[in-house]
């Protein structure tokens, strides 16, 4: 039981880090630039599809992943030039709507290009096994790779934003665009770069999860809401918050799913506990968000409202 609890704790953290990986690009664009980008999920999906195609072309998952990065960067640049650039000054509502339109366009485009059937990517043999953990319990090697990638992304993001010149300009630009422009910083170019970088992070996440999740036209949408939940719980404008939010969501979801019914059984009869567990499990994440926002209306680490 203790072993299982420890393992589920690890699973919860692993799921949280996976969520952070997916939400990382969004943290940058939504959290720092204060731009609501519903299209984040579909860029993540395009990343996964490109990883499939490039892997097939090169015969190697690693090469496919490497090629996906510049490709999604370019997609981000093009989208920024055509659409997003015009929306920075607009209210959130306009951003929501325009990017909602992009979601429809890109999802349908993916269906036209790659078809509606789910696809898969071949994982390198080196990463496809599992390592023994405790007793009969084993842990998949690729999960460890995902954890490493998520942690690396978190550290890199934090360093870029807090320790580099570009990060400093970015924070300043998000706070007071006019002032930073007046100081001679080309804010337009800066936002373009950051946006493309955010798209690349989304593509990276898509390519990273392709070996463990289904690659289909619904994959972007299934993570979009979760990614927003993660950032909102953490508080907008904080990488630290997004990371904490992701871990919290991962832990609550995983532990609630596996131990919730056991806890409920201690004060309800078994059938009622099973029933209540089934009703509550899918709501857990949303209950968590509602409780956190009710107590702290700007999220855990958020300053701005």
């Amino acid at each position: 039981m203790t072993n299982l609890f420890l393992l589920q704790l690890l699973n919860g953290m692993q799921f949280g880090i996976l969520l952070f990986l997916i939400a990382a690009g969004l943290t940058l664009v939504f959290g720092i630039m204060d731009f609501v980008n519903l299209a984040h999920g579909v860029i993540y999906m395009v990343g996964a599809y490109l990883a499939v195609t490039f892997s097939q072309m090169t015969g190697s998952y690693g090469l496919g992943l490497l090629l996906t990065l510049p490709a999604t960067l370019v997609i981000g640049l093009v989208l920024e030039l055509l659409v997003f650039r015009k929306l920075y000054d607009r209210p959130h509502l306009d951003q929501v709507l325009a990017t909602f339109g992009l979601v429809m366009i890109i999802t349908e485009g993916v269906e036209i290009i790659w078809g509606a059937a789910p696809l898969s990517v071949q994982m390198p043999d080196l990463l496809s096994g599992s390592v023994p953990l405790i007793g009969p319990l084993r842990y998949p090697v690729f999960r460890l790779v995902v954890i490493a990638a998520g942690l690396a992304t978190a550290v890199a993001l934090w360093l870029i934003i807090t320790r580099t010149r570009i990060g400093m300009r970015l924070r300043a630009g998000a706070t007071n665009r006019a002032m930073v422009s007046a100081l001679g910083v080309d804010i337009k170019k800066l936002f373009t770069i950051i946006f493309a970088f955010g798209a690349m992070l989304a593509g990276f996440a898509g390519a990273m999860v392709a070996p463990i999740l289904t690659v289909d036209p619904g994959m972007g949408e299934s993570v979009l809401i979760l990614a927003f939940v993660v950032i909102v719980i953490g508080g907008i404008g904080s990488v630290k918050g997004a990371f904490a939010g992701a871990l919290l969501v991962g832990l609550v979801d995983t532990l609630g799913r596996s131990f919730g019914p056991i806890i409920l059984r201690s004060f309800l009869d078994p059938s009622a506990a099973g029933q209540a567990g089934r009703v509550l499990a899918p709501m857990l994440v949303y209950i968590l968000m509602a409780v956190i926002l009710a107590a702290r209306p700007a999220g855990l680490f958020g300053a701005r409202t």
């Binding site: 509502l93 709507l97 429809m104 939940v229 209950i287 926002l293 209306p297 409202t305």
Partner: protein
């Protein structure tokens, strides 16, 4: 101030067109037109309700589909209990929606901006998953309604045209009510609270109470749309509460132009007709719909009505 009389004109024409639609359908011998139009009317009610808080109160609810579901399920639940009258179904819907709106609204209104969008979404998702787990009413599969609501004990709504005119009367009534509300002192306080909550507080109004009241009114109105949708499709399922539906309601309002009520009605009409029309044109219709949506947002700040109004 030319806008107000123009709006009255436009409203008269739009509602006259709706009133005449069954006659046009009869002349064309296309009864199905009335069926689509009933659905449009129901969504117009919901869009109108959303515009009341979104356009006037600045509250972007991303969870209004929950109220559609509450309205639809009140038809299913009351019908099974032997209560079939439309007026009672509407009353049940309003009661359910009011309770849900008071609780979730009171909590949600603690937040602002994007946090408000997300917390309303969270509550709607909870409602969605609750009904998905509700085995007695088919869970995710939903329930088929064997008969529509009755009107004064008579099954008159089985006739599509009668259902259409009922929906029309409700929309017209709610539209006039909404216009009156926005022009009243209450409406002005609401707009004031959106523009400058601190000042409203300073001159003695509690924005929270006004905003919560508006939120509850809007939720109740949307639940009436749910009652009409359930009757129109003779079917109730949690799919009404899907978060996409909430998004589509926001699209309708913004499509038509926020904050003028008539725009919401027009937006719902145009969005649904466009969807219907594009789907006939190509199976890849979401591509075109998305493109239109992006273009409208990029090039017309007040939605389609704004686009037309500027060319007056």
């Amino acid at each position: 101030m030319r806008l107000i009389p123009t709006r009255a004109w436009a409203a008269t024409l739009l509602f006259a067109a709706f009133a005449a639609l069954p006659l046009i359908a009869a002349a064309l011998d296309d009864a199905y037109l009335v069926v689509i139009a009933t659905r449009i009317l129901a969504y117009a009610i919901a869009a109108l309700a959303l515009d009341l808080i979104l356009g006037y109160g600045g509250m972007v609810s991303f969870g209004h589909a929950a109220y559609l579901g509450i309205g639809a399920y009140s038809v299913a639940i009351l019908s099974r209990a032997g209560i079939t009258d439309l007026s009672l179904h509407i009353l049940g819907a309003i009661a359910g929606a009011a309770i849900f709106a008071v609780i979730t609204g009171a909590i949600s209104l603690r937040t602002k901006g994007i946090y408000f969008i997300m917390i309303t979404l969270a509550f709607a998702q909870m409602a969605y998953f609750f009904f998905v787990s509700l085995s007695a009413y088919g869970g995710d599969d939903g329930v088929t309604l064997s008969t529509r609501s009755t009107l004064f004990g008579q099954p008159v709504l089985e006739d599509d045209t009668a259902l259409y005119y009922t929906a029309f009367a409700i929309l017209l009534g709610l539209y006039l009510t909404a216009v009156a509300v926005t022009r009243s002192r209450f409406g002005r306080v609401l707009t004031g609270a959106r523009e400058n909550p601190v000042r409203m507080q300073a001159i003695g109004f509690s924005p929270f109470r006004y905003q919560l009241t508006a939120f509850v009114i809007s939720g109740c109105m949307t639940s009436i749309a749910g009652v009409m949708l359930a009757n129109q499709a003779s079917f109730v399922s949690p799919a009404y509460m899907d978060w996409h539906r909430s998004g589509e309601l926001v699209v309708m309002v913004v499509f038509g132009g926020i904050g003028n009520l008539l725009g919401a009605v027009a937006g719902a009409t145009i969005a649904l007709l466009l969807e219907e029309w594009l789907a006939v044109l190509t199976e890849h219709w979401p591509l075109l719909f998305g493109l239109i949506l992006v273009l409208v947002v990029l090039y017309s700040r007040d939605g389609l009505t704004g686009f037309f109004r500027r060319r007056l």
